[in-house]
């Protein structure tokens, strides 16, 4: 049995220690936000927050998460009540296929929680681990900037 603290709820899961968090989130917990993109820590589609830091859930074994808190994009808001970044992404229509977007929002969340006033260069460098193949970067960047412009409160 493994105990995971996900979005403020405790889950007792009968899974192997080596199961990457991504698989547990999607299959055992039934969350869609974290996506499988590479399983290699190269694309960021699977990004979640562990103790407020962005991590690749595809590379994080569940056995290493005892006592840590996991947050996914689902914790940031919902369709009816989107959080600040989610709302900015909707307002900017910052998605094409959108497959990368949940990971983008989670990584941006980590940045703004730690630094509500990042400059452009900091945003670009911080977002570098996450890939988007549709080329939605211009809008993703604009969405993050619009939250910063409103005080960076997430």
């Amino acid at each position: 049995m493994i105990t995971l603290d996900i979005n403020g709820k405790t889950h007792e899961l009968d899974i192997a220690d080596d199961m990457p968090l991504l698989y547990a989130l999607r299959n055992q917990v039934g969350l869609n936000g974290a996506k499988y993109g590479c399983g290699l820590g190269q694309c960021g589609a699977c990004t979640v927050l562990v103790n407020d830091k962005p991590v690749f859930s595809c590379l994080t074994p569940c056995g290493a998460l005892a006592g840590k808190s996991v947050r996914t994009v689902e914790s940031l808001g919902s369709v009816d009540q989107p959080g600040p970044l989610q709302k900015a992404f909707i307002d900017e229509q910052a998605a094409q296929c959108g497959y990368c977007i949940a990971g983008m929002i989670v990584r941006a969340q980590a940045l703004l929680e730690a630094n509500p006033h990042p400059d452009d260069e900091t945003i670009r460098r911080h977002m570098a681990p996450n890939l988007c193949r549709c080329g939605t970067h211009v809008r993703i960047f604009a969405a993050i900037k619009s939250v910063v412009a409103q005080g960076g409160k997430v």
């Binding site: 969350l31 190269q42 369709v79 296929c97 959108g98 080329g135 939605t136 211009v138």
Partner: protein, 751 residues
């Protein structure tokens, strides 16, 4: 030299005569006809009504597009799919505009072989042109029939009736819903060639940026993709592919798989292997075990990457004359000559391909992110030996595909596994390395250009020859599905046929739009594929426009004429001139960049010479030591006819600029005799945030009442060409081998 037409493949030529060139689409009465698609026609839809607009030509019945009843209200169907370009919302806007109802009153269904029209593939920037035009007309005609019905019942003239949100009103306060009015109206009838006219000035939805329907769920973790489907008792599968093409399975240690904790089933058919488990992580472990324990024959050798372009000229090919006019002297006097190359590229979807299939009660249902549910259904039915009527393919979104990626093959995987395990839904997810190694690539290409000026500095002679493997290996038979090659009774791919001009294949946009009196353009369609290749956004247009536009810049320099002016000197189409002039004005061309290694570049093309217009100017700087290219500013102007959703169009153009910059600056598939090296993102780097253009401006020129021209792919070629021209301006080096930056730059300096 023998007459080049002797080498023409007659079926292709015949198609041009019988198909696209004599057909057009009329979106609105009185509008001159534009050439319509062949990409769809060549992909299996049959033309039943050549006089009708858009996809009504293949699916002429009104009730194939729109149904109205008391229970479901208004249902609108499209055979096209959402690939991440926002077309679902744009098509809904068009249908709602012409039915004159708010979009929220429409139940909108996309490609499903049990429900929707067959619109072939969602590809080639055709969705709005085909399906949008069909809905634009069908919806207006349905509304007209409803008005006629109400007018009959009330004994009023149609002109005295109005409609609002699916209710018809007369001047005496009577009202009737669309669902009431439709009673007694036969919608199972052919559409007519002409539709009620509505001036663009009175549109309330077309031309407005409706927020996309799919984005709220996608930013908040809602189930949005086929990857997110969870059916009752669904099993998870992984495939085990051979080490390379041509490898045959010798043996696999099945006992080793039984050692794993939990129940794992091996599906085996010839060299086809897959593992199935109740838990996904267990399926991944079993797959890894399978890779470790399977033994294979050597397989086909890989070509030498350093001489791939030479190899393309030596392999068996069919030669197609693409265009010829005037009288080209041989050899051309004082010609500018260039040899331009492009490497194999991959679509590189962020989410590897995935599909869910379920064989239940004799019917196989497949949920897939394919671009064409109908062609896929036929291919799968043939592969598994079921009648077509017992296979249903339903589109479910995946990660953006940008062309023919692993989607169809993953669907075939799911189908094969579901047939082996009847009664259970099967979800197959490809791994990153499987996507990278087995998706169909975008072909490596070679183009040779020779061009010359007359004494007054005008383009006079143009000779262009290109070599490419196919760009259109779509699913026309089971053998086009990769898993079908591996079966004990394998299937063979149908012979390759290039997409006809004016759409073009490798030769898409191979003919310059500029006025040139003497011109000859030929394509060598290479039939043996060292790597399996198929459609990726813009097909050959990426390199062809790059080659044309770099040549035009070189000739402008020879003529000592500003490159923008030089282009204008050879363009008479006012819409082409308008995008060029707009970019020049907004960019303040030739406003020079400052700082070391800075340069500016310009490019223009009309996609396929029949679709959207696009001009781009780029300002960048190059770090000579590293070959790092920083893009400071991009200014683009586009004209795609009547704009449906300005924000949707903007999103596509911004995305295309970034994607094309990535292809052009960084991308190439790495391989050598020892194997493939681009199996993950470290072996196939694409653009990341730090390399993002600092500033992107897009100017959209709307053309009210003009036909829709399509948007998604129009920027790929011009962006590539503008980058090449700007790098030349920055460094004095004319780079002609893609990719241009980093490694590409260093290779160019080394050679």
């Amino acid at each position: 030299m023998k007459n080049p037409t002797q080498n023409v493949n007659l079926s292709r030529r015949a198609f041009v005569i019988n198909g696209a060139l004599v057909m057009g689409f009329a979106m609105l009465p009185g509008i001159p006809r534009a050439f319509a698609d062949t990409e769809v026609d060549t992909l299996g839809t049959t033309i039943l009504a050549p006089d009708l607009p858009g996809s009504l030509r293949a699916t002429p019945y009104l009730d194939a597009w729109i149904r109205i009843d008391a229970k479901d209200g208004i249902t609108v169907y499209t055979g096209k799919v959402e690939l991440g370009t926002g077309v679902k919302t744009a098509l809904l806007q068009i249908a709602a505009e012409r039915l004159e109802v708010s979009p929220g009153l429409i139940r909108f269904l996309t490609a499903d072989t049990a429900l929707t029209p067959n619109e072939g593939y969602t590809a080639g920037s055709h969705t709005i042109v085909d399906s949008g035009t069909a809905l634009f007309n069908a919806a207006a005609q349905v509304r007209q029939l409803l008005l006629e019905s109400a007018a009959r019942q009330w004994q009023r003239s149609i002109d005295s009736l109005t409609t609002r949100d699916a209710v018809i009103y007369d001047t005496q306060g009577r009202s009737m819903t669309y669902a009431q009015a439709v009673v007694g109206v036969q919608l199972h009838r052919f559409a007519s060639a002409n539709s009620p006219f509505k001036p663009a000035g009175s549109f309330t939805l077309i031309g407005k940026s409706l927020p996309r329907l799919d984005i709220p769920a996608k930013v908040s973790g809602g189930a949005a993709y086929v990857q997110d489907m969870r059916l009752p008792d669904m099993l998870h599968a992984r495939v085990i592919r051979p080490p390379r093409r041509g490898s045959q399975l010798l043996e696999i240690d099945e006992a080793a798989l039984r050692q794993l904790p939990g129940e794992v089933k091996l599906v085996r058919n010839g060299s086809y292997l897959a593992v199935v488990a109740t838990d996904e992580w267990l399926a991944v472990k079993a797959m890894r075990e399978g890779y470790a324990k399977a033994r294979w024959t050597e397989g086909n050798p890989l070509p030498d990457s350093t001489h791939i372009h030479q190899l393309l000229t030596e392999l068996p090919a069919r030669r197609y004359p693409v265009s010829a006019k005037g009288d080209l002297p041989q050899p051309l006097p004082r010609a500018y000559k260039a040899r331009v190359t492009k490497q194999y590229l991959m679509h590189g979807s962020i989410g590897p391909s995935c599909a869910v299939a379920w064989f239940k009660d004799g019917t196989l249902t497949v949920w897939t992110h394919t671009q064409g549910v109908y062609p896929l259904r036929a291919g799968i039915a043939e592969m598994v030996g079921l009648p077509v009527a017992q296979v249903r393919c339903i589109h479910a979104e995946g990660s953006g595909c940008y062309g023919h990626n692993g989607a169809d093959d993953a669907a075939a995987d799911a189908a094969l596994i579901a047939m082996a395990i009847p009664g259970k839904p099967i979800r197959v997810q490809w791994m990153r390395e499987q996507e990278n190694l087995w998706e169909p690539y975008s072909s490596a290409m070679l183009a040779e250009v020779e061009a010359g000026l007359d004494d007054s500095g005008r383009l006079r002679d143009w000779k262009y020859e290109l070599w490419s493997t196919p760009h259109n290996e779509r699913i026309v038979n089971a053998g086009r599905l990769l898993p079908a090659w591996l079966l004990a009774n394998p299937f063979t791919p149908a012979p390759s046929v290039p997409i006809a001009q004016p759409e073009g294949d490798g030769d898409r946009n191979a003919v310059p739009l500029y006025e040139i009196p003497n011109l000859k353009v030929d394509m060598n369609f290479v039939l043996t594929m060292p790597f399996r290749t198929s459609a990726m956004r813009s097909l050959g247009a990426h390199i062809n426009i790059f080659a044309i536009e770099s040549t035009v810049d070189e000739l402008a320099a020879r003529a000592t004429i500003d490159p923008v002016q030089f282009r204008l000197n050879h363009l008479s189409d006012p819409r082409a001139r308008a995008v060029v002039e707009r970019v020049a004005a907004e960019f303040r061309w030739p406003h020079k960049a400052t700082g070391p290694g800075s340069g500016i570049g310009f490019a223009f093309a009309r996609y396929k010479n029949i679709m959207g217009y696009c001009a781009i100017a780029v300002q960048l700087h190059v770090q000579r030591q590293t070959g790092q290219v920083m893009i400071d500013r991009v200014v683009a102007a586009v004209d795609v006819g009547q704009i449906v959703s300005p924000d949707g169009l903007l999103n596509q153009i911004q995305g295309g600029i970034v994607q094309s910059a990535s292809w052009t600056l960084y991308e190439r598939i790495l391989y050598d005799a020892s194997g493939m090296h681009s199996f993950d993102w470290s072996g196939y780097p694409i653009m990341r945030f730090p390399d993002l253009p600092q500033q992107v401006e897009v100017h959209m020129i709307d053309q009210p009442d003009q036909p829709f021209l399509g948007a998604a792919e129009i920027v790929q070629g011009p962006m590539a060409a503008a980058l090449g021209n700007a790098i030349n301006d920055a460094t004095g080096k004319r780079l002609l081998d893609l990719p241009l930056a980093r490694r590409g730059w260093q290779d160019a300096l080394g050679s």
